[in-house]
Amino acid sequence: MNFDAILEKLINDTVGQSLGHFSSELALCVTIVGLLLVRLVSLDRWLPTYWVALLGAIAAFGLAACQMKQGGATQFLFTGLLVYDQFGIFFRLFLLLFLVLVIALTVISGIPDNEDGPDFYTLLLGATIGMMLMVSANNLLILFLGIEMTSVPSYVMVGFLKGRKLSSEAALKYVIYGAGIAGVMLYGISLMAGMLGTTDMSLIAERMHLLLSPEADGADLSVRSNAMLRTVVLASLLISAGVAFKLSLVPFHFWCPDAFEGAPAEVAGFLSVASKAAAFALLVRFCLALVGKDSGALSEHVYLYLGVGLGVVAAITATFGNLAAYSQTNIKRLLAYSTIAHAGYMLMAVAAMMVLVNSDVADAKLKAAGALEGLIYYLTVYLFMNLGAFAIVAFIRNQILSEEIKDYAGLGWQAPCLGIGMVFCLFSLVGMPPFGGFFAKLMIFKSLVDAGYANPFMWVVLAIGGLNTVFSLIYYLRVLNAMYIVPRPEGSPRVKFDFLPAGAYVVMVTLPVLLTGFFPYFPDRLSDTASRVANMLISNF
C-alpha cells in the first residue's frame, strides 16, 4: 500500500468514523472553550456560566444516548487508540448522566459563585473528559492520559475553596500521593510497552504469549524471556497500583478520607462516584487485556492469579473501610470510608469475573458476564444512593454550616424530605432488602458463589463480604440515630428547608434508589441493559 492510499484511509477513518463516535467528548471540549469565551466577552453577567455547562453536558448526554440507541459492533477509533463498544458507550452515558446531576447540584447548593464558575466547570468537564477516555481506552498512552486528565482537575477541585486550611491541606495531600503514584504507574507503562514492543492494549496478551512461546527457544533465549516476563509482571503490578489509587483500594486509600473531608461535599460526591466508575471500567479492560482471548497455558495462570489477588485486595479493602468508618465523627469522612468499603464490594465482582472468565466451570463466559453485570448494576445504583447522600450533606451544610454527625441531632424531624432521603440512601448503601442496593449486592454475591466453584477461595471472599455488610449497618445507623433519635439541643435555631429546589433534587436522586428496589420493572430493565453490555464485552473478548 503506498502512502497516498494510507493518508486517504487515515483521513476517511478520522473524519468519517472516529470523530462521529467521539462526538460526546467533543461536545464537552467545545463547552469548555465556550465557558472560557463567555467569561472573556463578559457575557457571564447575563448568562450565568452554569447554564453553559449544563447545556453542554446535556448535549453530550443526548449524543451518547443516541449512540447507545444505535448500538453497533465494536470498532477501533483513531487508529486503535480508543475502542468503541457497548461497554464504553454505557459508561460514557453513565458518566454524563452523573455530570448533569452534579452540575444541577452545584447550581442548587451554589458552591462555585459566579466569579469562580468558569474555573470550576472547566475543571469538572475536563475531569469528565478524562474519565470518558479512561472507559474507552485501548492504548497504554490513553490509559495514562485518561487517568492524569481525571486526576489533575480533581486535585484542584478538592482545594477549590480558597482560604480554608482544611481544603488546602486536603488538596496538597491528594496531589502529592496522586503525582507520586502517577509517576510509578508511568514507569510501569514504560516497562510494559518496551518489553512487549507495543502500547496497544489489545495486543498485550498476544505479545506475552510470544515472549513465552517455545519456538523462540534456544537455551539462553528462554532465560531471557523469563526475565522479560518477570519485568512484565512487575510492570503490570505498577500499573495496577495506579488504578488502585484511583479506586482507593487498600493500601492506596490514604488520600481518600482526607481529600473528601477537605473538599466541598459536591466535589467529594463527584470523586466518589465518577472516578470510581471510570477506574472500574478501566480495570476491567486492563485485566481482560492481560488475559487475552485464548486460554493458553500462560493466561490460565494469569487469570487465576489476577482473580485471586483482586479477591484478597477486595476483602481487605471492604473490611478496612467498614472498620475505619465505625469511629468517624465527620459525615464526609464517614462517607469516604464507606466509599472505600464499596470499592471493595465492587472489586469482588471484578475478581469473580477474572476467576470465571477462562475457567472450566460450565458456562464460564456466561457467568463471567454475570459478574460484570453485577458490577454495572451496582455502579448504577451506587450513583444514585451515594450522590443522594452527598447532596443531602451539602444541603444540610448550607443550613447549619457543619458536617459533624453530632450537629445533625434532630434534623430528621425538622427537614423531613432530606431526612427520609438520607434514610433511603443509607439503607440502600447497607444493602437492605427493599432498596436498589440490596439487588446490587445480591448480584455480586451470587457471582462470587459461581466463582467459588472455579476456585474455593472466592467463597472466603463471599463470607467476608457478607460479614462486612452486617457490620456496616452499625455505622450507617449511627447517622440515622443522630438525625431521628437524638433530640435537637435546646436553643439551637430551628432550621428551615424549602422543598424547592433542594428537596425536589433529593427526591429526584433518591427515587431511582427506591424504584430499583420496589418495582420489578426498573431493576429488570436495568439488569437487561447491564447484561447486554456485559455479554457484548465478554463475548467479544
Binding site: 497504554l140 498512552l141 495514562f144 492520559l145 492524569e148 489533575v152 486535585y155 484542584v156 482545594g159 480558597k162 482560604g163 480554608r164 486550611k165 482544611l166 488546602s168 491541606e169 486536603a170 488538596a171 496538597l172 495531600k173 496531589v175 502529592i176 503525582a179 507520586g180 502517577a182 509517576g183 510509578v184 508511568l186 514507569y187 507503562i189 514504560s190 516497562l191 510497552a193 518496551g194 514492543g197 507495543t198 502500547t199 478520607p257 482526607d258 473531608e261 477537605g262 469511629s327 468517624q328 465523627t329 465527620n330 469522612r333
Partner: protein
C-alpha cells in the same frame, strides 16, 4: 564499549529509584514534587530508549512528548496547590498538614 538498550534502562532505573527515595524521605512539598519529576523522567528515558532499540518504534517518542507536557501541567497544578497551602499554613512542610486525621 557499545552503549545499548540496557545502559539507558539502567539510567532510567537509577532516576526512578532516586525519585522514589526522594518522595519517601523529603518533608518539603516542593522536594517531593522534584522526586516525582525524577520518576517521570526515568520513565521517559525508558520510552525513548525502547523506541530506538525495540519494536516500539515512534510510539515511544510520542508517549514521551505527552508525558513531558503532562508532567509540566501536573507540576504547575501541584505548585499552585503548594502555594495555596503556604498561604494558609505559612509552611510547605507536609508534616504540618495534620488537621485531617482519623
Amino acid at each position: 564499549m557499545d552503549i545499548g538498550l540496557n545502559h539507558y534502562l539502567v539510567v532510567g532505573a537509577v532516576l526512578f529509584v532516586c525519585g522514589i527515595i526522594c518522595m519517601a524521605t523529603k518533608r518539603n512539598a516542593i522536594g517531593i514534587l522534584m522526586g516525582v519529576e525524577l520518576v517521570l523522567n526515568g520513565a521517559n528515558i525508558n520510552f525513548v530508549a525502547f523506541s530506538r532499540y525495540t519494536a516500539l518504534g515512534l510510539d515511544g517518542q510520542i508517549v514521551s512528548l505527552f508525558v513531558i507536557v503532562l508532567a509540566a501541567a501536573e507540576a504547575a497544578v501541584a505548585l499552585a496547590i503548594a502555594l495555596n497551602f503556604y498561604n494558609n499554613h505559612l509552611t510547605i512542610d507536609v508534616d504540618r498538614g495534620d488537621e485531617l486525621a482519623g
